[in-house]
Amino acid sequence: MLLSSVLIQFLNGLAGASSLFLVAAGLSLIFGVTRIVNFAHGSLYMLGMYLAVWLAERIGFWAAVPLAAITVGAIGALAEISLLRRIYKAPELLQLLATFALLLLVKDFALWAWGPEDLLGPRAPGFAGAVEIAGNAFPQYDLLLILLGPLVLVLLQLLLSRTRWGILVRAATEDREMAGALGVNQRWLFTGVFALGALLAGLGGALQIPREPANLNVDLSVISDAFVVVVIGGLGSIPGAFLAALLIAEAKAFCIGLGYSQATLVIEFVIMAAVLVARPWGLLGRMPVPARPGAAEPPLAPPSRRLRWTLAIVACGLALLPLGSGGYTLVLLTDLLIFALFAASLHFIMGPGGMYSFGHAAYFGLGAYAAGILLLREKFPMELALALAPFAAGLAALAFGWFCVRLSGVYSAMLTLAFAQIAWSAVFQWDALTGGSNGLVGVWPAPWLSSKPAYYFLTLLICASGIFLLWRAIYSPFGLALRATRDSPLRAEASGIDVRATQWAAFAIAGLAAGVAGALYAFSKGSISPEALGIQRSVDGLVMVMLGGIQTLSGPVWGAALFAWLQDAAARNIDYWRAATGFVILALALVLPNGIGSLLQAKK
């Protein structure tokens, strides 16, 4: 690289960093104060883009940008007041479910309102051309962005350090309960912070339109980038977010400049994993205030008589089903059973273990891929491939888990996501072994299992036993120890439980079980491709667990069944099926904050 190219790529990185910082700053603020994992943040950004393109045609670019940002801020405030405020008391992460539903709604709304085609916005008047820097043309608008990022950073810092509102926000970020105890009205503080965060997302989107067309895929691609930036920087730390944005954007620009463009697929996740392993609370984050004793969950009651009967009847019904129904019902039920096991395995670490995983699909996908590779490349018989494949997932969980259990809360969850993305990109790039983006095709079961009823019975048998074993484990001494590590690590340690080893083992068991589900999935579909370990699948798992109820025993199984069935039924009958799914999830989150599994809990 010439020196002039180094300079230009450095400037490209700076411009990219400013764009990243604008979305991430809002997310960091919202998380810092309200602890909401806001999945809809990318959707707010997308709304900002569409609104700005639409407004720019009518009132000009420079008027459109602030107006779009303010509108998105108002939408954010409205969402907080009408929706999120109702569920702050609900189990942690339920907000995740609600914001996921919002994401689905916004996506279909944008499709309905602005149509399917990408909308390329105008160039910014006054900044349409290029200036010459070191013999290269460099866009004026990128120079403007390079200045805007730090400007927003300074303004936010002033707002947070010099105003009373800012001081309250920082107090709440530092220690929410103490701030509340000192008489700070949290309701309006939360609304204000959420509105400001949304406004920043909208601003980020609006400012992006001279560089990128408004399109319907931007919400998901932005949200994962923004999460990564926030976590690398340290949750709630605005300067940290800026530093992280800078780090990632420069890394990407130089990967491209130096000819390693394929690395851009995964570089941010590699950086995140490295940072988290070295600095568990991000670059500028601080150790969160430890949860106070007394926040422990009520002990998980043994399954009530009613639940036992329900489960027994459901199991018998499922076993007898092929007598009365063939064809598609069995195909759909096979899917439901596999997802039920997947959700139960995720619940095993999230519920009793209290460890969140945003990357559980990695183990599902690795199990599936291992099955495919053993069958097609190693020519193993199908039965053997099915039996061995889950151990690949279990081993991966053992390796990744060693790092993840050393972190806590959302940091640990994000590390699981980083590992999942690294696994995904390995699968995606490794053509010779995994078939690259096409994946592996021809992963069919052995002839005696290839009829629909036969494979259904196999799935029923394996999934039901898997779920049963996971549930047994929750009430075993190991499960009790696991619950102790969740409720009070200190007391658990003092009473002789090896906290990390217990969590590590739980992580590996969950990975193994997810691998079983994945291997079954591969053979039921006849093919496997990288989506099986993508973010979407991980999110699906979270949604299933949260829908069913994280602190119930059987909830995740019902959640999985409901979610998979809902998607199938809605996609078949409704054009805007994503919005329909979103509505149902939202309604359930509001009506049954403890999940549908709570309906079957023993009455006290």
């Binding site: 319907l216 491209i256 463009s261 195909v331 994946g439 095709v441 069919w444 006849g526 093919s527």
Partner: protein, 395 residues
């Protein structure tokens, strides 16, 4: 008649009048929510064809019926949806899919279940070659074919240093591989100075454009499309990448991707695409008039694909005289028919249709992108020799 008999009779009437015996069903699945810009016009094209066919008496005296489903954009859901179309909806033929991984998964299922699958959209070469099977047919010119169509113009330029940029997944990777292989064969002294692989939908356009400028290429080959293409074009225009460097870009002339560029449309790019308002052959004129009359909108590339796919199914079933899968497969092998792009043949060798594409250059007209200097490239002329195909299909 007993009450029970009446109920049974009523029920069977309910099922069978609505149902399967009276119509011929095409079970169509596609990623309608993931690629709406391409697939909404595609659906309109299909519906137009269905209406035309049924207005002229249907097929074998029965009405043709289209059952469409969203495949969620991933192979797992697509396979489930395909199973539903086969077993619950009683589809006689499967059709559709967009992304290559989804297409390949459904094709494999079709072979397993012995159902005919007409892959309308996917471009991957593997569909009919490495992974080809008896039950899978593909309509569009593949990645290889479209790349080959650009080669004659690329060779004419006699440029030595080429740079390549592509979306990093199957389509972009195989376009790049085919381009390098074909150009090298025609022009052995060619040199590929840089290759930029961008994550699909997430190109870092500024950095990529600068990297291309640094490589000092004589010409550029790109397979970017949709949002990536728009970002690349705008950055390249601003940074002056295209001023003196000719660019070849697959698909960029398709209205789905070209129309969004508006006044950013770069002059002189060589592209494959569909100049819908300039093609005045009788068969295209007829299609375009009917489409515009029906939908009050102009046809896109997707419209032509959807329209021709439905006609393919109708023609094959007519020729077979039956909806029996094996008979329809045999009828479709070697079937000759007309499409809005002219006559095509379904090659018995690999089940690829010889549908072509239009090759031309981009230009701006009244703030809109158009294709100029275009010619029609017949797909039959851009396929590898039979022996090569046989070797790929392992036959």
């Amino acid at each position: 008649m007993s009450r029970l008999q009446i109920i049974v009779f009523a029920f069977s009437a309910l099922f069978f009048t609505e149902g399967k015996a009276q119509t011929i069903r095409i079970g169509e699945l596609n990623s309608y929510k993931v690629f709406p810009a391409f697939l909404e016009p595609y659906k309109k094209g299909m519906e137009l064809a269905i209406e035309e066919i049924n207005a002229s008496g249907g097929v074998l005296g029965k009405k043709l019926e289209l059952v469409t489903r969203d495949d969620g954009g991933n192979p797992g859901d697509a396979v489930r949806v395909a199973e539903e179309l086969i077993s619950r909806e009683g589809a006689h033929v499967l059709m559709g899919t967009f992304a290559s991984n989804v297409g390949l998964a459904v094709s494999n299922l079709a072979a397993q279940r012995k159902v005919l699958f007409l892959a309308s959209e996917p471009l991957t070469d593997k569909m009919v070659w490495e992974n080809g099977n008896r039950y899978t047919f593909r309509l569009r010119p593949s990645t290889y074919m479209q790349t080959a169509m650009l080669i004659p113009e690329a060779v004419k330029l006699k440029k030595k240093r080429w740079a390549i940029v592509y979306p990093n997944y199957e389509y972009g990777q195989s376009a790049t591989a085919s381009f390098k292989k074909l150009l090298k064969a025609a022009q052995p002294d060619v040199e590929f100075v840089t290759e930029q692989a961008s994550p699909l939908g997430k190109i870092d356009a500024g950095a990529v454009v600068q990297a291309l400028i640094d490589a000092k290429p004589d010409a550029i080959f790109s397979s970017l499309f949709a949002a990536d293409l728009q970002k690349f074009v705008r950055e390249g225009n601003t940074r002056g990448l295209f001023k003196s460097t000719p660019v070849f870009n697959l698909l960029a002339g398709e209205p789905e991707y070209l129309d969004t560029l508006k006044d950013e449309t770069p002059d002189g790019w060589w592209v494959t695409g569909y100049p819908w308002n300039a093609i005045n052959t009788p068969e295209h004129r007829k299609f375009r008039d009917a489409y515009q009359k029906r939908w009050k909108d102009y046809p896109r590339q997707g419209s032509v694909v959807g329209y021709s796919a439905v006609y393919t199914v109708a023609n094959a079933i007519r020729k077979a005289g039956s909806t029996d899968t094996e008979k329809v497969v045999d009828a479709l092998r070697g079937l000759e028919m007309t499409t809005p792009f002219g006559p095509i043949v379904w090659r018995p060798l690999d089940h690829q249709s010889t549908m072509g594409a239009y090759v031309g250059q981009l230009a701006k007209k009244a703030g809109q992108g158009v294709m100029v200097n275009w010619r029609f490239a017949d797909g039959a002329n851009f396929l590898p020799p039979f022996e090569e195909v046989r070797a790929l299909r392992k036959e």
